[in-house]
Each structure stands twice: as structure tokens, then as C-alpha cells.
């Protein structure tokens, strides 16, 4: 069970906003986390607490393919990102590295910045402890669930290689 405070953003949060390219001369997640969300929310790194949740409307993570974006979010100890929709490369990257994402329009519409959410990732259950409402996120397709339960793409690939399924 995850629990944390919501940091809320709008539509089309791009990966340059999540981690500006001027910091891409390194790839250490802890170093990247120092600049997470810097260009749209300077104070994010001071406010964020372990377990907190990023919430946004549509097309979160659009733009560049930089895996540094989900890495920076994960290393900021964000437990989950909830949005109405995600840009496709960001979605792949997050699943591959084990940053939980949930798609749930209702939850986004009925949650304010600063609300506290409790999340059960297995059933995609989201409970807003600040207003008592509960939501169910869109379920993952079966293949994605396999990838997640394997522990991400690298572990999944190791399993495939061991089983000779390549």
C-alpha cells in the first residue's frame, strides 16, 4: 500500500520540464533528482517527501525519450504518478524501470494539490483520504502486468534468455 501527498500539474508536462537537458551530462539518478521538475516547479525538490504522488492531466511525459525523466522522479522518492493519459515513451520507460503509473481520469478530476492518497497498486485502487472518495485506475494489459511482476524489462529479459525464448 502506498500513501502520500499529491503534487498536481496540468496537461502536456514534457520531459524537459521533468529534467532539463542541461543536466543530461550525467545519468546518476540521485544527481538528476536534485533538478526534478525544476523548470515548472522550482520548489518541488524542497516540498517532496518520500511516498508522495505526482498527478497530472493529459499526455504526461511528452517530448524527449530521456529515461532520465522517470529516473529523476523515482529518485525523488515519488511512489506513483497518476494521470489522465501518458506519452508513450515515458509510459514504456516508467514501466521498464519500475516507477508505478496509473491512468485514472476521475481521480485526477476529484483530487486537489496537497490531498493525501492511499493506493493499492495490485487492484489499481486509489483512495483520497482528504475527501473520502475512491477510484479504480484503468487495468494494465496482461503483457504489461507480466513485465511489472517480473520486476521491469531487465529482469524480464533475463528470464527470457534463461528460458531460451529469444
Amino acid at each position: 500500500m502506498l500513501k502520500g501527498k499529491v503534487h498536481k500539474y496540468g496537461a502536456n508536462v514534457d520531459t524537459d520540464a521533468i529534467i532539463p537537458a542541461r543536466y543530461l551530462n550525467v545519468s546518476d539518478p540521485a544527481e538528476l533528482a536534485k533538478h526534478c521538475m525544476e523548470d515548472i516547479d522550482k520548489d518541488f525538490i524542497n516540498r517532496v517527501k518520500p511516498g508522495d504522488i505526482i498527478m497530472a492531466t493529459t499526455n504526461f511525459g511528452c517530448g524527449s525519450s530521456r529515461e532520465h525523466a522517470p529516473l529523476a522522479i523515482k529518485a525523488s522518492d515519488i511512489s506513483c504518478v497518476i494521470a489522465k493519459s501518458f506519452a508513450r515513451i515515458f509510459f514504456r520507460n516508467a514501466i521498464n524501470i519500475g516507477l508505478p503509473l496509473l491512468e485514472c481520469s476521475d481521480a485526477v478530476d476529484q483530487t486537489k494539490a496537497g490531498d493525501i492518497l492511499e493506493i493499492d497498486l495490485v487492484g489499481g485502487k486509489i483512495k483520497n483520504l482528504s475527501n473520502g472518495l475512491t477510484f479504480t485506475a484503468k487495468p494494465y494489459p496482461e503483457f504489461m502486468s507480466q513485465l511489472i511482476s517480473a520486476g521491469g524489462l531487465i529482469e524480464y529479459t533475463k528470464e527470457r534468455l534463461v528460458k531460451g525464448r529469444v
Partner: protein, 418 residues
């Protein structure tokens, strides 16, 4: 099946694929660069295989921060260079490199019918050749380097039809900016875009690369063109291996059909801070600029420089403006030199850089201060993309960027040329 579906099906062990289906796809080329390769290499080591699946199908290009701008980026390139040498993969370093998405087609490393995956969002550029090419992350590329295949969800296809002949100074860039302006930055999310119609048939290869390049700016997974005489002529002297041309089936099913009459389309300019904020250039009045950038994987090819030179010939860059011109590859640089374009640029008061992604992503070589404004032939104008979060980037084609460099404000080429 659509063109995208035909290519994907041919790279699986299935006869048919349908949108929404999860498949494992064999890759003909696996790409990464100096920003994304270091993470891919680290993740590749975690998989625990000693060798990549096929060194002839893996390419790494040092292009984002090279020639290296600082110690940290030099360390990143060194890591990539050492890996490339250890694995015997295809590798391009300073002196031979170019911006990856201009370089790979130019070198004949990507061909019609290929599946290309790259740890760079603009990998979709190769759709111009009738390939299925898509950007993904470093971990994806690590897995693909180990196994030669990668998971994908089959995208639905949106067919775009562009009717009419393009006017003077109107290019592929204007078609794609206009399209993104119409459908929005998530208008083709998770989809393949297929570009067709009279204006597309007449479009030169360089303009097609520009359009496929920016498919990602509409959220698309790929942006494809059908192979025609122009494609075949382009690959004729470049291809060093066999390729396959796929045609769509008569019963191909599209998620959407979108038609535009582009015969009266003006050059487009996308205002900050979204590529979807496209406007006809004539609507922008007295918009003063501090910088003009002509280059990038979007518009740094020979034709782009020829058009820019046509506008700048015999003129001077406005005293307030820094005009930065970046040939996308060493070959483009050499061709521009031989054609006298470089002399035109330098005489006009522009600076000509070695190939690099540089300012496009705010790396170096043209960073903006707070309050500054740049017109740019690049692909993104997000907040802080080219420097300060208080700077502004306006996206355009090379003719508009060159004309604006001369007048010092965003201008149509008509204002400086008749």
C-alpha cells in the same frame, strides 16, 4: 493491414497483426546516442550477456554534446566509445559523426521496410524512407541490444492526405507544424501517422524527413511515407544491403482519415511553448528576435541550407541577431562548402558550427538568456528548451528563419526576396 502493420507483421512470427496487440518485433537497427547510451550500457551489463546480438545492427552516435562541452559529457562519450570498441558495433565520433537522424539515412544504415528502434524520440525520422522507426528509452535499447527484439503494442494508423501544390517557401516543416497545430501535441498519441497525397508525392526527401521527424510532436509512435521514385533514388547510392518494400493492403483499416487542402498554406510559425501553437507567418507582426538557429535533425540537411542560403545571399544578418547555422552531418557540411553556401553564410554575418544537436535542446552553442527570443528550425519550443525558462523559441522552416535573421523580426521570406 496498413503500411505500419505490414512492416511490423513481417518482423514477427505472425502473418497478421492488429492494433492494440502486444508483439515482439525484430529490429534491423538499434540506435543510441551520447545522452541515452550510458544508461543503456549500464542496463545491458545488468542483463548479464557478454556480447550484443549482432554488432552490425547496433549503432551509437556522439551528437548531443559533442565536441564535448564539459568534463561530465566527455565522460559519457568515453563510456560509449569504450563500449563500442569492446563490442565492435557501428560508432560515429567527432569528425565522422552527424546528427544521428540525418546521419543514418545518409550512410544507408536505415532502409525501406526496416524496423528501427532508437533511444531518442526523433528516431521516427526514418519513416520517411518507408521504415517503421520509433523512439524508446535506454532500458528498451539495452534489452534490444541483448536479444535483437523488443516488445511493442501495434499502433492504429491515422491516414493524412495533403491535397494541392505547395506555394513558394512552403516546405515539409510547414505541413507538419500545420498538422500538429490542427490535431494537437497528443493528436496522434500511440498511433502511426501515414502521410499521403499530391503535396506529399511532390515533396523532396529532405522535407519528408522533416515531417516524419516531428511525428513524435503529435504524440505518434511513427510517421510513415510510402516508397516511391524519390525514395529509391535517395537510397540507390547509399544502400549496402537488401531491403524490402511493403505496400498496404486494399482492405487496410485506418483509425482516422484526415484531409487538408494545402494549396494556400503559408509558412507556419509555432509560438512558445508548444509545437501545436502554429500560426501563418503573416500573423506575426514586429516580433523582434535575438537569435536565429538553422539546423538540427529536423532541418539541418542540404536542402535546408540551400534554402537558407538563397534567402541570405547578398544580405546581412541584422546587427542585433546571432544567426547560428549547423549542418547536420560532415557530408552536409562538405556539400555546403563545395556549393559556396558556407561562404554565403559567413559573408552575411552568420556563424557556421560543426554538426551537433547543441542549442536545440539547450545543450550549448547558442543558449538563450532570460527575456531573449529565438526563431529556430528545430522541433521543440518547450519552456527552457533552449536556455533560460524566461526565454522563447519560435519554430519555423529555414527560409523563415533566414529571413527573420536579416530583418531582426519574425518575417516571411517574401519580405526580403521577391
Amino acid at each position: 493491414m496498413t503500411l505500419a502493420e505490414k512492416i511490423l507483421a513481417a518482423h514477427t512470427n505472425k502473418k497478421r497483426v492488429t492494433p492494440g496487440e502486444f508483439i515482439n518485433v525484430k529490429a534491423d537497427m538499434v540506435l543510441s546516442n551520447d545522452i541515452t547510451a550510458p544508461i543503456a550500457i549500464k542496463e545491458f551489463r545488468r542483463i548479464g550477456v557478454a556480447k550484443v546480438f549482432d554488432p552490425a545492427k547496433i549503432v551509437m552516435v556522439a551528437d548531443h554534446f559533442v565536441p564535448n562541452k564539459d568534463i561530465a559529457s566527455a565522460e559519457q562519450v568515453k563510456l560509449m566509445r569504450d563500449f563500442a570498441s569492446e563490442q565492435g558495433i557501428i560508432y560515429f565520433d567527432v569528425g565522422r559523426m552527424g546528427i544521428e537522424h540525418a546521419l543514418l539515412p545518409e550512410q544507408g544504415l536505415v532502409l525501406p521496410g526496416d524496423v528501427v528502434v532508437g533511444a531518442d524520440s526523433h528516431t521516427c525520422t526514418y519513416g520517411a524512407l518507408g521504415a517503421f522507426a520509433t523512439g524508446m528509452g535506454s532500458t528498451d535499447i539495452a534489452a534490444a541490444m541483448a536479444t535483437g527484439d523488443i516488445w511493442m503494442k501495434v499502433p492504429p494508423t491515422i491516414k493524412f492526405v495533403y491535397r494541392g501544390k505547395l506555394g513558394k517557401w512552403v516546405e515539409g516543416k510547414d505541413l507538419i507544424l500545420y498538422t500538429i497545430g490542427q490535431i494537437g501535441v497528443d493528436g496522434a498519441l500511440y498511433s502511426a501517422m501515414e502521410f499521403t497525397g499530391e503535396a506529399i508525392n511532390a515533396l523532396p526527401m529532405d522535407g519528408r524527413f522533416t515531417m516524419s521527424n516531428m511525428a513524435i510532436e503529435a504524440g505518434a509512435k511513427a510517421g510513415l511515407f510510402h516508397v516511391d521514385d524519390k525514395t529509391l533514388l535517395y537510397i540507390k547510392s547509399r544502400a549496402k544491403r537488401q531491403h524490402t518494400i511493403y505496400e498496404l493492403d486494399a482492405d487496410a483499416e485506418y483509425a482516422q482519415l484526415i484531409e487538408y487542402d494545402v494549396s494556400r498554406l503559408e509558412p507556419q510559425v509555432s509560438l512558445p511553448h508548444s509545437p501545436a501553437n502554429a500560426r501563418p507567418v503573416s500573423q506575426l507582426k514586429n516580433m523582434e528576435i535575438d537569435q536565429a538557429v538553422i539546423g538540427s535533425c529536423t532541418n539541418g540537411r542540404l536542402r535546408d541550407l540551400q534554402v537558407a542560403a538563397q534567402v541570405l545571399k547578398g544580405k546581412k544578418v541584422h546587427p542585433r541577431v546571432r544567426c547560428i547555422i549547423i549542418p547536420a552531418t560532415q557530408q552536409v557540411y562538405l556539400d555546403a562548402l563545395r556549393e559556396g553556401l558556407i561562404e554565403t553564410f559567413v559573408t552575411a554575418g552568420a556563424v557556421v558550427s560543426t554538426p551537433t544537436c547543441g542549442p536545440c535542446l539547450g545543450g550549448y552553442m547558442g543558449i538563450l538568456a532570460a527575456g531573449e527570443r529565438s526563431i529556430s528550425t528545430t522541433n521543440r519550443n518547450f519552456v527552457g528548451r533552449m536556455g533560460s525558462t524566461k526565454s522563447e523559441v519560435y519554430l519555423s522552416n529555414p527560409a523563415v528563419a533566414a529571413a527573420s535573421a536579416i530583418t531582426g523580426k519574425i518575417s516571411s521570406p517574401e519580405e526580403v526576396k521577391s
